[in-house]
């Protein structure tokens, strides 16, 4: 339970002279520390941060992935992606968490988190289910894809142009032949992807674009294309 200190802790608290912050007397500080040492209270920061951290723990989406991702650290990054999705509308919090993910897990970890955040992982699994022969196989493919995300996905940013995107897509699909190849972008990158779609379809002739609405993601600021490898 989060409490308002001025109501819960009674005497010994005064309003700060500036900015309305609460000030504790020396005695009140000692009282708080005694309670802390007895593990009767914790000092948190922003209540919203705590809520964000707690909310995804028991989500149905995470429960599903717990069954298929055995690597705890990988699962944790997927969970971070779900938190990113939850805070998408708070640009300051979003940017802050992205920086922390990148600091801890490098750009690859951030891309894995994006994969979950943008719903790509869910749609990826949905496409796989068409040809799946066992749950163990699904688990193996998900882990392999996340651990080798750069061989399966291009995260387009504003620095890309159409020819660069088509060239890189051709290079990745030729080198790694992923079963499903994904191109994902938000913001200005979504426009680059839209403009490149026709060229990509022509160049990636061993793949077919998944046009079904349940798979594609095309909104004002997100564009995600799923190419499925053709059976030769």
């Amino acid at each position: 339970m989060t409490s308002d200190p001025i109501k819960k802790l009674g005497e010994g608290i005064g309003k700060g002279a500036t900015e309305g912050f609460l000030e504790y007397s020396q005695n009140k500080i000692k009282e708080l520390i005694a309670l802390f040492k007895e593990k009767k209270l914790r000092f948190i920061g922003d209540k919203e941060t705590i809520e964000n951290a707690k909310q995804t723990k028991n989500s149905g989406e995470l429960a599903f992935y717990k069954d298929y991702i055995q690597d705890k650290e990988l699962l944790f990054i997927v969970r971070l992606g779900l938190v990113l999705r939850r805070i998408e509308k708070n640009s300051e919090k979003l940017q802050n968490l992205k920086e922390k993910i990148r600091k801890k897990y490098n750009i690859k970890g951030l891309h894995i988190a994006y994969f979950a955040q943008n719903g790509v992982l869910n749609r990826y699994v949905a496409i796989l289910l068409d040809d799946l022969d066992s749950p163990a196989k699904l688990s193996e493919i998900i882990s392999n894809t996340l651990n080798n995300i750069e061989k399966h996905t291009i995260f387009v940013n504003w620095r890309y142009n159409k020819s660069q995107l088509v060239k890189e897509s051709t290079t990745i699909t030729s080198a790694h032949s992923p079963e499903i190849f994904i191109i994902s972008g938000v913001g200005s990158a979504s426009k680059i992807i839209k403009e490149s779609e026709e060229s990509l379809i022509n160049m990636l002739n061993k793949y077919e674009l998944q046009k079904f609405s349940k798979f594609s993601i095309s909104t004002g600021n997100k564009e995600i294309l799923f190419f499925k490898r053709l059976i030769s």
Partner: protein, 80 residues
């Protein structure tokens, strides 16, 4: 279990809290008893007084962000 938000508490009171726990501050960062910056163990960055949380578990002082808090919750099996 009570949760007290440090966001509502003055900088001076936060520093008093830290001193009572054996820490200090240079006005910006949390310092340990040897005067070294306290590092968030999960993301390896120095903890700022204006963005700290203090949890039980050997008086764990962390940066206030979802990643560190989720890691803490997992390690100490604390649902906050």
């Amino acid at each position: 279990m009570e949760l007290i938000s440090l966001k509502k508490i003055s900088q001076e009171s936060k520093i008093l809290l830290l001193k009572e726990l054996g820490y200090s501050s240079d006005g910006e960062f949390v310092l340990d008893s040897e005067g070294k910056k306290v590092i968030d163990k999960y993301i390896d960055i120095p903890v700022r007084v204006d963005n700290m949380v203090i949890f039980p578990g050997s008086e764990l002082i962390l940066d206030d962000n979802e990643l560190s808090i989720m890691k803490y919750m997992e390690e100490f099996e604390d649902d906050l």
